[in-house]
Amino acid sequence: MQVVSAIREPLITGTKTLKDVSHDISRQVEGKPTRLWWTAFGISLALLSWGAYCCWMLLWHGIGVWGLNKTVGWAWDITNFVWWVGIGHAGTLISAILLLFRQRWRMSINRAAEAMTIFAVICAASFPGFHMGRLWLGFYWALPLPNTFGSLWVNFNSPLLWDVFAISTYFTVSLVFWYMGLIPDFAVIRDRAVAQGNKIRALAYNALSFGWQGGAKTWMRYESVALILAGLSTPLVLSVHTIVSFDFATSVIPGWHTTIFPPYFVAGAIFSGFAMVLTLLLVTRKVFKLEEYITVYHIELMNIIIIITGSIVGIAYITELFISWYSRVPYEGYAFYNRVQGPYAWAYWSMMTCNVISPQLFWIKKIRTSIVATFVLSIIVNIGMWFERFVIIVTSIHRDYVPSSWTMFYPTMYDVGQYIFTFGIFFTAFFLFAKFFPVINMAEVKSILKSTSEKK
């Protein structure tokens, strides 16, 4: 028998029945898109097309259109790459690690968070792709394919190649995990379409659901697959940002070759990922009227994770500063002195304010249960995390070993355009997802309805 807890807050409010769950979530998919949706989708498409123009110019003229120079060879492209990959960490964390820890509050948010993960990884992958200049040759440079130079294989000693494998594996496994979750929910929409007499929708969603029936044997296998995928994704999600941090940590640039990078990057990734999940979900729950499924309690729990990971990131910043002084290495010491005091000090202090100070406001219960405050702070956190990557990348290399090559980095219109391009991809994909796919995992919410929902 199920045990109903008297102490824990209900995860689903509004005395829902199983039928209500199917109805509330499927309604978005079945109805015509609202004017609000068209407006938002139109803006995303406008961003995407402007960005696509900038990408075209880059492919036509080469990466010289970016603001990179001899000293600063990596700037916005890698900053944005790491930023998006970081954002892409929350979804799999929510669906895999919280599944292993049996955190049932994840069930209302995992679907949208995983979708966000997949779109964020696509955005991230576009930067190293375009940075290669000749995108169409990328496969030969990045994958161990036989070629006519020998075959001269890719270098498996390079962290950049590890990245290729890490990001593509992460993308594929996250996609499969997400899709597995969607299969039973597509079947719900199919059966509702049959009941409503909509043949085309029934056929389309049946194909998407792979003819799902929901027999006990299939569910048993399905749960086993979900658990193993969670077990596989947990080390995977931790490995991805670890490997991204190796891009820097295995180099010999002062400010980059720090051994704390892997855990520090992973914590930062979860931090920014949760912030982005909050930004999107606060809007989604309002637009789709899902306040009874994504409650203030869910938001509060996510804010608590933001405090924890934000504090880990803060400790990492302070540790870095301390070690640069304690190591007595003049180059290392200068790299950090320059971050705090140099021409990019404004970026460093923006990062410190946004990432270390602002999330501490969530210690106050009133702030972490306030929708407006959470929304504002979630955006501030992501601005801070962007500055973190910018600070690490640009301030560490803009003061070269030879003062004659000291320089600054100024982004051009095409640096900005490339960034806007990824926002276009991200939001276009997210709005399409929110319209055509069920945004909350119905089967999982139904399975907890009896034990943790508000009763009449």
């Binding site: 199920q2 029945t17 199983l18 039928k19 199917s22 161990p144 075959s151 294989w153 270098n155 498996f156 000693n157 962290p159 190649l161 590890w162 494998f165 890490a166 594996t169 594929t172 496994v173 499969v176 995990f177 597995m180 299969i183 039973p184 079947a187 719900v188 199919r190 059966d191 509702r192 049959v194 009941a195 049946n206 194909a207 792979f210 003819g211 799902w212 029936q213 929901g214 027999g215 006990a216 044997k217 569910w219 048993m220 296998r221 399905y222 749960e223 086993s224 697959v225 193993i228 995928l229 596989l232 994704s233 080390p235 995977l236 490995s239 119905m442 999982e444 139904k446 399975s447 009896k450």
Partner: protein, 176 residues
């Protein structure tokens, strides 16, 4: 009577009633074809007497394939086929090969397991499932009993057993 064509279908509202019902129905000697639910019901596999799935073994074997494939590929490419001096390191040294080996292990394990799941569960996009009751994806648990498999009992007897075990509705369903 032909097998797998004519069924008695019991509809259940609640998962705990369903679990009790499965035990009652099975102890009265009736063979259950399958139970369809809108969400995974814990303990239903034991109640129905299903053996544990062997998918974890498939996942492990696919994972090992990935590990071996990745190691053989890297050692052969950089150690034998086209050795390159990179920072004076050994041609084929294990530590730098670990990340790619790990990633390919996870990739093959996940894809192989999900592929196996799709095949053993007979899931394909062009298959229209045989539905005993359309509400089984929405809010009802549906228990299907094949008449031919339970030839010892009459249709009415089966219906009574279902009703007594807590079914809210009992219907008949036949397929072409």
């Amino acid at each position: 009577m032909d097998a797998d064509k004519h069924f008695v279908v019991g509809i259940f509202e609640d998962e705990d009633v369903l679990l009790d019902a499965i035990r009652k129905v099975r102890s009265s000697g009736v063979k259950i074809q399958e139970v369809y639910s809108p969400f995974p019901v814990h303990g239903i596999d034991e109640a129905l007497g299903y053996k544990r799935t062997r998918l974890p073994i498939a996942a492990f074997l696919f994972g090992m394939t990935g590990t071996i494939l990745a190691l053989v590929m890297q050692i052969w490419m950089l150690g034998y086929d086209w050795p390159m001096i990179i920072g004076g390191k050994n041609f084929a040294s294990l530590p730098p090969f670990i990340p790619v080996t790990f990633e390919l292990t996870v990739l093959l394990s996940a894809l192989g397991m999900v592929g196996t799941f799709m095949i053993v569960s007979d899931m394909k996009p062009y298959k229209w499932p045989r539905q005993f009751d359309i509400r089984s994806t929405d809010d009802k648990h549906v228990m299907a009993i094949d008449l031919a498999m339970n030839a010892a009992k009459s249709k009415d007897e089966l219906k009574r057993i279902l009703k007594d075990s807590g079914a809210s509705e009992v219907n008949e369903k036949s397929f072409e």
